[in-house]
């Protein structure tokens, strides 16, 4: 490069500007994306980890397991509902939710709840997902079954 920067060929300079523009844009996008990702990932915890105190308090997480038979209770007023999620072994915890549960929600079936764990050990859900197709179960719950085998 014998030419000085100032004397750079206009085409080259244009190309350089475009490249700089593209790369700085990309770098910015990546930085923003990583930050947004870190703020918005929800980790999944099975019942034994929630009961064992391994899940963080007051942070948005996902929890799942089986809805314990006979555990669904509704308040006399409003649309608050409460049920127990269990791993059908020794661990279970109470979930509270305000709103209408999905069609597929059933006692004895798997559910996946998004929300946060409160200081009193109960789980305040903002979203409850349930589906009991013969071919479907949330992947988190599939693994739970596997781990229990070993």
């Amino acid at each position: 490069m014998t030419r000085t920067r100032r004397g750079m060929h206009p085409v080259r300079r244009k190309r350089l500007i475009i490249v700089v523009f593209v790369f700085s844009g990309l770098a910015l996008a990546v930085a923003l994306a990583m930050q947004a990702l870190n703020e918005n990932i929800n980790l999944f915890y099975p019942p034994d980890e929630i009961v064992g105190g391994h899940a963080p308090l007051n942070t948005q997480i996902r929890a799942g397991g089986m809805v314990k038979m006979g555990s669904v209770r509704r308040t006399a007023e409003g649309v608050d509902v409460e049920f127990v999620i269990s791993d059908l072994k020794n661990s279970e915890f109470v979930v509270t939710y305000t709103g209408i549960l999905p069609d597929m929600f059933r006692e004895g079936q798997g559910v996946l709840a998004t929300g946060r764990l409160l200081d009193d050990g109960s789980f305040l859900a903002v979203e409850v997902l349930a589906k009991h197709d013969e071919n479907y179960m949330p992947p988190e719950l599939i693994d739970m079954g596997k781990n229990n085998d070993s």
């Binding site: 059908l88 004895g108 013969e134 179960m137 085998d149």
Partner: protein, 184 residues
């Protein structure tokens, strides 16, 4: 540089493929968790469907080669699978033990009366506890046991003609099951 730069998209793509491959092998629920393979069938003490007085245990599964089939009347795929199980029983004399999974015994009895009974007996797993021990995540699922009650193979999803041909039958042949069959 120059032309090498043009291989960048390819590199990105290969990276993606590696990730898909990893995710794919991690997520594959059809592969038996290695923990259960070659292990004895988990212990249980549950009532029999045919004879309410009788309690079945893992000992009842021993002594012969057996296909344990987890099913329920609420499971549509089980209905499709049922016909294949009937065929396997009629044509090959395969002995199948059923596990009625999270279902009412009355429903199960009605189903067997209506569609035919391919099972030698059925275990009632009403609350799904045996299912958990087996790592069942949905019905239907099937387990092939040898005479010692060890799990040789697990199928998540229906047993159909292809699974029989490619997965179960070759295993039975390995065990010389069919030779014995002909002598019988």
């Amino acid at each position: 540089m120059g032309r090498l730069r043009l291989f960048l998209p390819l590199c990105g793509f290969l990276l993606l493929v590696v990730m898909l491959w990893l995710g794919f092998s991690l997520n594959d629920p059809h592969i038996l968790p290695s923990a259960l393979l070659q292990k004895p069938f988990p212990g249980f003490e549950l009532p029999s469907l045919q004879d309410a007085e009788k309690t079945l245990t893992q000992e009842d599964l021993k002594g012969k080669i057996l296909l344990v089939n987890v099913w329920a009347t609420w499971c549509p795929t089980c209905k499709a699978e049922h016909a294949e199980l009937m065929r396997l029983k009629e044509q090959f004399g395969l002995e199948i033990a059923g596990v009625v999974y999270k279902d009412e015994p009355d429903n199960a009895r009605r189903w067997l009366a209506a569609y035919g009974d391919p099972y030698i007996y059925n275990i009632i797993d009403r609350d799904g506890r045996l299912g958990i021990d087996l790592g069942v995540y949905g019905a239907p699922e099937s387990f092939l046991l040898n005479a010692e009650g060890k799990i040789l193979y697990k199928r998540v999803g229906e047993v159909n003609a292809r699974i029989w041909r490619d997965e179960i039958r070759p295993r039975l042949e390995q065990l010389e099951y069919f030779d014995l069959d002909q002598q019988r």
